[in-house]
C-alpha cells in the first residue's frame, strides 16, 4: 500500500519541487519512505546525524538536513502533528534548536498579527471617524501624499483618457481655454501644480480636473456657454478642486482601507497599483457637498483676483438647470445641492468690486469655430 505523502525531500538527483515521501518519527530518529515512483530511497536518520531549523515561505515548516556533498538531503515537514511528534521524541540538544525555531515562528506570527491588528485598529478608528462625518482624517492622510506621486497618477489616467478621445490640438477654442487658464493660474499663490489643459471634441457638457492638475474641457461645455466668463467660471472651480486635492480625498474615501494603509506606511508603490484599478473612475468622480462649496468659494475668489467677471459659473449653472438638468453631465460630477446657489451668491456679494478685464477673444468667434450656428436665439 502506498502511504500518503507528508513531507518533501530535496537533494541531488531529486526533482526540483521535492520528492514526496512519508515520514514517521521513532525514539531515535526519522524514517523516510518514498511515495510513488521516485529516485529517493528509504532511509532512517538518527537524531544525532541531523540538523534542524525553521523554514519555508511562512517560516512554519520544519527543515531537517543531513549528509554532505551529493548525498546531502533536506526534508521539509509541514504537517503540524508530525512536527509535534518530532519535538517530543527529539533529544535536548536538538530541541534547543527547535525551540528557537518555534520562538521564531511565534514571533513572526505575533509580529504579523500585531501589525495587522494595529493597522485594522487604526483603519477601524478612521472608519468610525468617517462614519461620523469627519473629513479631517482624510485630509490629513491626503496631505501626506507627495504632489509628484499625485501627478504621476493623474498623468497616467489623463494620457489613458486622451488616447481614447479626439483632442483639439490648436485653433481658437484651444487658445481661448489657454488664455483663461493662464489668467487664472497667474493668480494662484504658492502653486505646486503645473496645470495641463486639453480641449476634447465631444458633446458632453462638462469639464474635469484630475489629481495633479490635468484638466479636460469638452467642446460641449463651450458650445453651451454664452460667454468666455462662463467657461472660465467652470475652469476656476475645477482648478480649485485640484488645489484643494479633492480628487485625492475622494479616492482615499473610495479605496478606503487599502489606500489608507498604504499612506499610513508611507509607501506609495502599492497604492499606485491599486489606484490604477480605479483610475478611470477618477474621470467620473462625484465630489461631495462640502467639496463643491469649497471649490465654489475659492473658485469665485480666484476669478475675482484674475479680474474675470466672477458670476459666470453661477449664471451657467442656473441657466442649464432650468432646462435640461438630467442631460447635462456637469451636474452629475458636481452635484448641485440645495443652498449651493445661495452660497455662491452670498460669496459673490461679499467680494470687493473689481472692474473685470475682458478676454482678448470674441466668444462668438470661438463658438463659430466649434460649429455653433445660433447659440442664443
Amino acid at each position: 500500500m502506498n502511504p500518503i505523502p507528508n513531507a518533501l525531500c530535496f537533494g541531488d538527483g531529486l526533482p526540483g519541487v521535492g520528492a514526496p515521501c512519508h515520514v514517521t518519527v521513532s525514539a531515535d530518529g526519522l524514517t523516510m519512505v518514498p511515495v510513488g515512483t521516485s529516485p529517493l530511497v528509504e532511509e532512517a536518520i538518527a537524531f544525532a546525524d541531523m540538523s534542524v531549523e525553521a523554514g519555508g515561505l511562512d517560516h512554519d515548516q520544519l527543515v531537517v538536513s543531513w549528509g554532505t556533498g551529493s548525498s546531502a538531503r533536506t526534508l521539509y515537514l509541514k504537517d503540524p502533528a508530525l512536527i509535534i511528534a518530532f519535538r517530543r521524541a527529539a533529544p535536548a540538544e536538538l530541541t534547543a534548536h527547535l525551540e528557537r525555531a518555534a520562538v521564531q515562528v511565534r514571533r513572526a506570527r505575533h509580529g504579523h498579527r500585531l501589525l495587522w491588528g494595529s493597522v485594522l485598529g487604526v483603519v477601524f478608528g478612521l472608519g468610525l471617524l468617517l462614519w461620523f462625518g469627519t473629513d479631517l482624517i482624510v485630509e490629513w492622510a491626503v496631505a501626506r501624499i507627495p504632489i509628484e506621486w499625485e501627478q504621476k497618477l493623474g498623468e497616467s489616467v489623463y494620457q489613458d483618457f486622451l488616447s481614447k478621445e479626439t483632442v483639439l490640438k490648436e485653433g481658437p477654442a484651444v487658445s481661448a481655454v489657454q488664455e483663461m487658464t493662464q489668467r487664472l493660474t497667474d493668480k494662484i499663490r504658492d502653486n505646486p501644480y503645473k496645470f495641463q489643459i486639453s480641449v476634447v471634441q465631444s458633446p458632453v457638457v462638462n469639464a474635469f480636473a484630475l489629481p495633479g492638475g490635468y484638466v479636460v474641457v469638452f467642446t460641449g461645455l463651450m458650445t453651451k456657454a454664452e460667454s468666455g466668463e462662463e467657461v472660465a467660471g467652470v475652469l476656476s472651480h475645477e482648478l480649485n478642486h485640484v488645489l484643494q486635492r479633492h480628487g485625492m480625498e475622494r479616492m482615499v474615501k473610495m479605496l478606503g482601507l487599502a489606500a489608507v494603509v498604504g499612506i499610513l506606511l508611507g509607501d506609495q508603490q502599492g497604492l499606485t497599483g491599486l489606484a490604477k484599478q480605479v483610475g478611470m473612475e477618477l474621470v467620473t468622480l462625484k465630489f461631495g457637498r462640502a467639496q463643491e462649496t469649497e471649490a465654489d468659494v475659492t473658485g469665485i475668489r480666484l476669478l475675482s483676483d484674475a479680474r474675470i467677471a466672477p458670476d459666470g459659473m453661477i449664471r451657467f449653472f442656473e441657466r442649464l438647470s432650468e432646462k435640461d438638468k438630467a442631460r447635462v453631465e456637469v451636474f452629475s460630477t458636481h452635484p448641485m445641492s440645495a443652498g449651493r446657489a445661495e452660497r455662491l451668491k452670498a460669496e459673490l456679494a461679499a467680494l470687493p468690486k473689481r472692474t473685470p478685464e475682458p478676454f482678448t477673444f470674441q466668444w462668438k468667434t470661438i463658438q463659430d469655430s466649434l460649429g455653433v450656428s445660433d447659440p442664443k436665439k
Partner: protein
C-alpha cells in the same frame, strides 16, 4: 479528470476530460467550448468574502467557475486571455504553489485555492496587491503565463533574482525577499519599479518570458491620438 494541452506554444488550449459528476475549477471566462453534458456552477471559491477580497485586493475576477459533468461524462476546452504558454502541474497533497493573481487557469476538484495575505512589505513593494493565491490539495493544476514559461529549479539555499513582473508561481518551500534592484539591473528592468525578488531554494520558480505591463506600454505608442 484528464488534462491535455492542445497547440502548445503561444496560443494553447487545454482539453479537460471529466467523468460523470466530476468537476473542474476554471478561471471565469476561460471556457471556450464544452460538451452539452457540462454545467457551469458559479460557486464562489473561499466564500463570498474570500471572493470579494480577491476581487478588491488582487484585481482577480470575481468568481472561479466550477464546471460539472452533471449530465454525463464530457470534455471542456479552456483557454487563457493572454497569449502565452500553459503549464500542467500535478499536486500530491504535500506540494503547494504560490501563484501570482493572473496565473491560475484551472484546477481539479481536489485542488484547494486560498487567497493568501502577503506580508505587508512584500505585498506593497511587490506591486501585486496584498493577496496571492496559495494552491494546494491534490490533482491537476493548470497555470497560464504571458509569453513562454521558464522553470527555475533551486537547490537548498541556492538563490536566484527575478524581476517581479515576470513571476508566475513558486513552491511554498521557497522563501523570497523583495529588494531594490542593484544599479546593473535597473537598465534592463522592465517593471520600471526597480524591484526584484530574491528567491532562496529549495523549490521551483516559474517565470514568464514577457511582462504584461511593459507590453501594454509598448503597444500604446502605436495607438494614435486622433486630431
Amino acid at each position: 479528470m484528464k488534462c491535455e494541452i492542445l497547440y502548445p506554444g503561444a496560443f494553447p488550449m487545454v482539453r479537460v476530460y471529466l467523468d460523470a459528476s466530476e468537476t473542474v475549477k476554471a478561471e471565469s471566462g476561460a471556457m471556450v467550448a464544452a460538451s452539452p453534458t457540462i454545467d457551469i456552477e458559479s460557486k464562489m471559491e473561499g466564500g463570498f468574502l474570500g471572493a470579494l477580497s480577491r476581487k478588491m485586493l488582487s484585481g482577480e475576477k470575481f468568481f472561479f467557475q466550477t464546471l460539472r459533468a452533471s449530465r454525463g461524462a464530457g470534455e471542456v476546452l479552456l483557454a487563457p486571455t493572454v497569449p502565452g504558454e500553459i503549464v500542467l502541474l500535478e499536486l500530491d497533497g504535500v506540494n503547494e504553489y504560490m501563484v501570482q493573481k493572473d496565473g491560475f487557469l484551472a484546477g481539479a476538484e481536489g485542488v484547494k485555492i486560498e487567497s493568501k495575505m502577503q506580508s505587508l512589505t512584500r505585498g506593497l513593494l511587490g506591486g501585486e496587491g496584498f493577496f496571492i493565491l496559495k494552491i494546494g490539495g491534490t490533482g491537476h493544476l493548470v497555470l497560464n503565463s504571458f509569453g513562454a514559461i521558464h522553470k527555475i529549479e533551486l537547490k537548498p539555499n541556492e538563490e536566484y533574482i527575478v524581476d517581479n513582473s515576470h513571476l508566475v508561481a513558486w513552491t511554498s518551500t521557497t522563501t523570497y525577499n523583495i529588494e531594490k534592484a542593484s544599479s546593473g539591473w535597473i537598465a534592463s528592468l522592465t517593471s520600471g519599479e526597480g524591484l526584484v525578488c530574491r528567491f532562496r531554494g529549495p523549490g521551483v520558480v516559474y517565470i514568464q518570458s514577457r511582462n504584461p505591463g511593459s507590453f501594454g506600454n509598448w503597444i500604446r505608442q502605436f495607438i494614435p491620438v486622433s486630431e
